[in-house]
Every structure is written in C-alpha cells, then in structure tokens.
Amino acid sequence: MIEYLQILGEEVYKIIFFIVPILVSVAMIVWLDRRVWGLVQKRRGPNVVGPFGLFQTLADALKYIFKEIIIPASANRIVFILAPIVTMTLALVAWAVIPMSESLVLADINVGVLYLFAVSSLGVYGIIMGGWASNSKYPFLGAIRSAAQMVSYEVSIGIIIINVLLCVGSLNLNDIVIAQKELWYVIPLFPMFVIFFISALAETNRPPFDLPEAEAELVAGYQTEYSGMMYAMFWLGEYANILLMCAMGSILFLGGWLPILDIYPLNIIPAPIWMITKILFLFLLFALIKAIVPRYRYDQLMRLGWKIFLPFSLIYLVLTASFLFYFDKLPKVNI
C-alpha cells in the first residue's frame, strides 16, 4: 500500500510537471494566434501588456477570474457547470500519451493512437452539454451543429489514422515515431496529411469551419450563456485541443520528436525541441488559415466531409494496403 502511494506521489509530480507547461503554452499560443491574425490583416495585434504583448493572455485570464459567473435561471445547473469542466479535462487528459521524446511521456501505452482518438471523440460532450444545459436557442443550435460536424469529421480522421497504422504495424505512439526514421509519412501519405489537417480544423471548430460559433448567425454558439471563468475554461480547452491536434499531426506525419535529418548538427538538438517546433509549425498553419480563409456554409461543410474526404481517404487506404501488400512491405509482427 505504501509502495503504491509512493508511486502515486511520483506520478502526480510527473503529471504536474507535464500539465503546467501545457497550460502556459496554451496561453502563449492564444497570444501567437491573435498576433498572427493581426499581422495578416496589417494590424499589430496584442502588443501592450508585457514585451510584445506576451502577457496579454495572462491579463485576460486574470480578468475572467474576477468576473461574475452567471448561471441562467432556466439552465440545468449541474450539466451547465459540468460542461466546461468536461471540455477542459478531456483536452488535458489526452496529453498523457503524447511522447515529447522516447522517454519523456507520461503513459507509454500500447493503444496510444486509439486513446487519443477516443479522447478527442469524447470532446464533443462538453459542447453538447453546454449547449443543451444553457436552455436557449443559439447555444442549442450551436451544440447540434458542432456535434454533427465533429462526428462527421472523426470518421475521416479515423480512416487517415488507419492509413498510418498500416505502415507502422503498431498502435503505440512511440513506435509510430520510430517507424518514420527513414521517411516521414508526410511524403508518401501527403494527401492524407492535407485531409488530416483540414479535418483537424473541423474537429476543433476552427475557421473556416467555426460554424458552431459563427457570430453572425449564432451569437457565440454553445458558449453564449457562459461567462467569467467558465467561459475561460471552454476557451482554454479549445486551444489545448488545437495544440493536441497539432501534436497528433506531427506524430502521425511529421516524425514526432525525430530531427529533420539524422546528421550531426541537427541530431544533437534535444528531441522535445523538435517536437515543439513541429507542433508550433502546424499551429502557425492553423493561425494563418484562420486569418485568410472565409467561413464555409454548413451544407458545404457536410458535403466536404462525407462526399469528398471519406471516399477519398477510403480509396487511399485501399491503395496504401495494396502497395504495401504487393511490394511485401507490410510491417511484420513477431509472435
């Protein structure tokens, strides 16, 4: 029992050392997002609080903490309070399996990819719960839209993951990274990478697919009735999810913590720095897309997900499998 408590204490220590940097980087990423958005539109973006406006998000968070939390009279109180907690928790829980280097990972489990996929598919509950519990029409419409959107795009993300798994032969995230030592999967599976990126945009409700919170139609979607810290939790959860999608993309396609080339000056740079660079690169793409692309219409969104991405990724799956089978490159399982 005492041994167990010791292990538990160690784990808690590790978890805190993993979670705190993620929360800080979420704050920084929000700043980066707004900054890039501003620069694209020839504005300055947040530049007042701290050097280059770096502390803008912290100031915002402080403001949210001191704001009053208003719970609508007709809302379902328990579900209403639970919704932002669910969103935030699920966004952070998924980071347990993300390997920052071969050893720097909280839980190196066998089914890492499935775990990531499961947790990201649970993310829809926070939104549905928030939208329904608010008991108001805009949040409800936003929640319904968002749920339909996330469920639709999960399907193609699942098939894209199967594409990668076929080449790796393991569900462990570290194995997936190590299998890309010769060649990053972004090269042979480039179309899948593009589709994954676009589906990740839809999965995290980012522009051009931010229909659940389209301000011209739905005020702020499922967040309309939320205020103060509860709104901030939705917001943090959303950005943690975006970072998670970037991490997932870099593990599946960009070689995770591997250096670009395995040659002298590049491979002495520690693995976590490579991982962070790749996540930041993908996030920069997210931010640019937000700034330069107009919003989709809802039927176009559904058409893109079901009629284009799904068939295309299925065909590509068959092609990948046939290629691997024909050239006898299927990963071997040692039994």
């Binding site: 029992m1 167990y4 379902n76 579900v79 489990i109 066998n110 089914v111 499935l114 775990y115 996929f117 499961a118 598919s121 649970l122 829809v124 509950y125 549905i128 329904w132 409800f140 319904i144 749920a147 469920v151 999960e154 699942g158 569900l171 039927d299 399982v333 040692n334 039994i335």
Partner: protein
C-alpha cells in the same frame, strides 16, 4: 493486488449504479448521461482486465458515436414526455415487449456464465495478459484469418442495415434548390450573362 481489486470494485460499483440510474431516472437526458458513464466505467473494466483494445473501441464506438446519436435524438424529439407516460400512463404497451427481451437476455447470460462455470478453461482472462504480443495483434490475427467469413458477414449485415435505414427515411423533397458545383464551375460569360432589353416603366421577368 489489493489496489487492483479496489479499482475493480470502484469501477463496477459505478457501472452498476449508473446502469440502475439509466432505467430509474425520470429525465431522459439524465438517463443518457448515466448510460455514457456506464459505458466509460465498463471500458475501464475492460482495460483493467488487459483487454485495452476492446476498452478503447468501446469508448470510441459507443461513447464517441452511438451515445452522441442517442443524445441527439433525445434532445431533438420530445422523448421526455413519452418516458413520463410509461411510468404514469395507464396503457403501458411497451412492458410486455420489454419483459420478453429482458427474459431472453437473462437466459443468454445464464448460458454464457453457466458455460464458463461448467468448463472453466473455455476462456480465461489471464491468458490475454500473459502472452507477449498485445491483444490488438492477437485479435487481428484471429479475426482476419480464422473468422474472416463471420467478420465480413457482420460487415455486410451492418451495410444492409444502413442502406435499409436510409431507404426507409429517404424522401425526395420538391422545390428545393440544389447547388451543382459542376454547373457553377462550367459557367462562362457567354452562358452566365444575358442582355435583356427593358421597356421603360416595366420590370423584367426572369424565369429560373
């Protein structure tokens, strides 16, 4: 091992409690939320046994997709009133059907659990943990070789069910404007722009 059993009882108590709440709670939405809790705790039990693949698939398929659709239906339709009428209303026509189904399920469970008791080495959960390959590999090796026919048949049954559901609910709506991307892209100035002579004090009638 004590820790293991503490966790086992923790998750199983949650599972049993939430499954009771699914059938007893008055609000339909709460029922669905408890159903989700039930799925999650059963998934945790699967993972504890060492069947991590099954646990994760349970989470992805049931919690991530099926329960979302449940929530959808419950939120969109007014199921809450129906449930109220089941409890309070006089004509509860669903009870005989429900009874038949539950008796059947009880019999099936008796057969399965009884068979397990009768011949203990039919399937021991410990064999999953001891073997060296992960149970994902094991499942794959068995499913796509020995049981390929059943696997494919199950897939075809699901496909047929899907097509059937679509056919049953499909209705062609008239008077709806549909966007045709091919027509849009293949338009050029000569087909898109039309010059209309208008007389003064008279509008133009455009038929589409």
């Amino acid at each position: 091992m004590i820790i293991h059993s503490i966790f086992f009882y923790f998750f199983s108590v949650i599972a049993i409690f939430s499954s009771l709440m699914v059938i007893t709670s008055r609000s339909t939405i709460n029922s669905v939320f408890f159903l989700i809790l039930d799925f999650i705790s059963v998934g945790c039990l699967f993972i504890m046994v060492g069947a991590e693949f099954l646990g994760m698939i349970l989470l992805i398929v049931y919690v991530g997709a099926v329960a979302v659709l449940f929530l959808f239906v419950v939120m969109m339709l007014n199921v809450a009133e129906q449930k109220q009428s089941w409890f309070i209303g006089k004509k509860s026509t669903h009870i005989p059907t429900g009874l038949i189904v539950s008796v059947l399920i009880l019999l099936e469970l008796l057969v399965v659990v009884g068979g397990w008791k009768y011949k203990e080495n039919v399937m021991s959960s410990s064999s999953l943990i001891i073997s060296e390959t992960s149970n994902t590999h094991q499942l794959g090796l068995v499913m796509y070789t020995d049981y390929i026919l059943y696997f494919q048949l199950a897939g075809i049954v699901l496909l047929l069910a899907m097509i059937g559901a679509i056919l049953l609910t499909f209705r062609e709506r008239v008077g709806v404007k549909k966007q045709s991307y091919i027509n849009q892209i293949s338009r050029n100035p000569s087909t898109a722009v039309e010059l209309v002579e208008t007389k003064s004090n008279q509008g133009v009638k455009i038929d589409d």
